[in-house]
């Protein structure tokens, strides 16, 4: 029963990792940019909600912050990253590394290194009792379903809408995409906008579940990155699966010894990298 519980809790944590990773996965899939600031952007969103919620209420804060994150993503892509993309693969990487450093230090300066959390009143501690010994928190449950819904929404967007098809076409062959009238720079802006929107959702839910501080971004990035690699680059469903595998790995590790949780997650990641380096659900064709 302990193990069932561990797997169930791991599954739910995995939903959070999948949320964190989906934006990273999309941005990488469309532009081959690894956004090293992805984790810091999600922490930024959590702090932004703290500010807005301080003046109104939590849900209004969330609704206000997510579009801000999307706009920020679009603006950063159109102003800096598009230019960097034309200079080779290293330039965008360096720029996103700079985002990470700037965000961490700015947050530290403004909010200090004290840990904070987003107060959700009763929601944070309420739970659903499944059996005598197993119960799951509403918040983890909501996080998990938001992760699934986000993945599903992105999937439908990419496969069923004209804009989504254009995004995949641009990812395949940017030059050919221009020839059918697609403005790549706009598409890239939208991808990063969606990426930071998703990072924002993840950061806010993360901030509701646990305490956070300005230095947490890189840790979030590593978990997100591991989820993407485990699932397979370029596959959104893979990213969801990757997040869940990572979450369950950590949870089982923590069950063995509370100090082993994070380490077990890394071990799962390395094992998959060794035996299935293309990821569990990779769509990449052999080249």
């Amino acid at each position: 029963m302990i193990w069932t519980n561990a797997i169930l809790q791991g599954l739910l944590v995995g939903g959070l990792y999948a949320l964190l990773a989906s934006g990273l996965s999309l941005v990488f899939g469309v532009m081959r940019i690894v956004n090293l600031g992805h984790g810091d952007f999600s922490i930024l969103a959590a702090y932004l909600v703290l500010i807005v919620a301080g003046h109104s209420n939590l849900w209004l804060g969330t609704i206000a912050v997510l579009p801000i994150m999307a706009l920020l993503g679009y603006a950063l892509q159109r102003s800096l990253l598009n230019r960097a993309l034309s200079l080779g693969v290293l330039s965008p990487l360096l720029i996103t590394f700079a985002f990470s450093i700037i965000l961490q230090n700015a947050l530290l300066k403004i909010f200090s290194s004290d840990t904070r959390s987003i107060q959700t009143e009763s929601l944070g501690s309420a739970s659903l009792k499944i059996t005598e010994s197993i119960s799951v928190g509403y918040l983890p449950l909501i996080t998990f379903f938001v992760g699934v819904i986000l993945t599903l929404t992105l999937h439908v967007f990419l496969t069923r809408t004209q804009l989504g098809r254009a995004m995949r076409a641009t990812s395949d062959d940017p030059t050919a995409a221009e020839l059918i009238g697609i403005n790549n720079r706009h598409i890239y802006g939208l991808a990063t906008g969606i990426g930071l929107f998703a990072a924002g959702i993840a950061g806010i839910l993360f901030g509701m579940r646990t305490q956070f501080s300005p230095s947490l971004g890189p840790v979030a990035l590593i978990f997100a990155f591991e989820a993407v690699i485990i699932g397979g680059l370029g596959s959104l469903w893979g990213t969801l699966v990757g997040g869940i595998v990572l979450g369950i790995g950590q949870s089982i590790g923590a069950q063995i010894n509370p100090a082993f949780g994070v380490l077990a997650g890394h071990l799962v990641f390395i094992t998959i990298l060794l035996f299935k380096p293309q990821g569990l659900l990779s769509k990449q064709r052999g080249t």
């Binding site: 004209q162 076409a169 395949d172 020839l179």
Partner: protein, 235 residues
């Protein structure tokens, strides 16, 4: 009325000059073929018209509008579509998605997913296959279908018959007359001289970046074309 006019267009790849003072006029509703050997500048000419390459001198005028300030993706919206060399079909999209994404520029007209399927029954059969798995002839038809989905006023086709089986070449050229019948003008780049002359109303021969011969396709003599193509008698 001319749909497309080139005035003394020049283009460079770095220090290498690829086009020298090309002037050309294409009448609305006509098919013009550009013939020339490898490296004569045919693809460069199409790239300059489609906007994926900037001319270093001269003007490209389309429907009376100077295109020099109009970027590549905006030219599709203006009514120019290019079927590129190598077809450039999106490999991870299905045939259906490849065709439908062609309508991104939202130009209205005769061509839509149904009419292009009627035009090319072969790609209708492959509708849900990935672009990655299609054969050369299928790719060419998908590429033309994708370009038609933008309902262009001017269709540019680079190497229409290159690498295709004769029966597929015949199908592609047969479809050309139906495309023109819907009001689209066509600029065709070909290495297959007889095929190009048969399909076009006017033709130009490019030699080392210069238009050395231009005329009505049925009035150009084989001798003149041969001389222009190989540069015989050209100083």
């Amino acid at each position: 009325m001319a749909i497309l006019e080139l005035e003394n267009v020049e283009a460079h790849y770095g220090d290498l000059q690829a086009l020298f003072g090309i002037s050309l006029s294409l009448q609305k509703g006509s098919v013009h073929s550009v013939i020339g050997a490898n490296g004569a500048g045919k693809s460069t000419l199409l790239k300059v018209i489609a906007g994926s390459m900037q001319p270093t001198a001269g003007r490209v005028i389309f429907n009376g509008q100077d295109l020099n300030k109009v970027s590549g993706f905006q030219r599709v919206k203006s009514g120019i579509s290019l079927v590129p060399e190598g077809r450039r079909i999106f490999p991870s999209l299905t045939v259906e998605e490849n065709v439908k994404v062609g309508a991104y520029a939202k130009r209205v007209g005769y061509w839509n997913a149904d009419t292009v399927r009627t035009l090319y029954p072969l790609i209708a059969d492959r509708w849900s296959r990935l672009g990655f798995h299609c054969s050369g002839g299928e790719l060419q038809m998908i590429a033309i279908a994708r370009a038609l989905m933008a309902n262009p006023d001017l269709l540019l086709i680079d190497e229409a018959s290159l690498g295709l089986a004769p029966i597929v070449v015949a199908q592609v050229y047969e479809s050309l007359s139906q495309i023109v019948a819907q009001g689209t003008s066509v600029l065709l780049v070909e290495q297959n001289v007889s095929q190009a002359l048969k399909a076009s109303t006017t033709a130009s021969v490019l030699l080392e970046g210069r238009a050395v011969l231009t005329g009505k396709s049925d009035e150009l003599s084989h001798e003149a074309i041969k001389n222009a193509y190989f540069g015989i008698g050209v100083a």
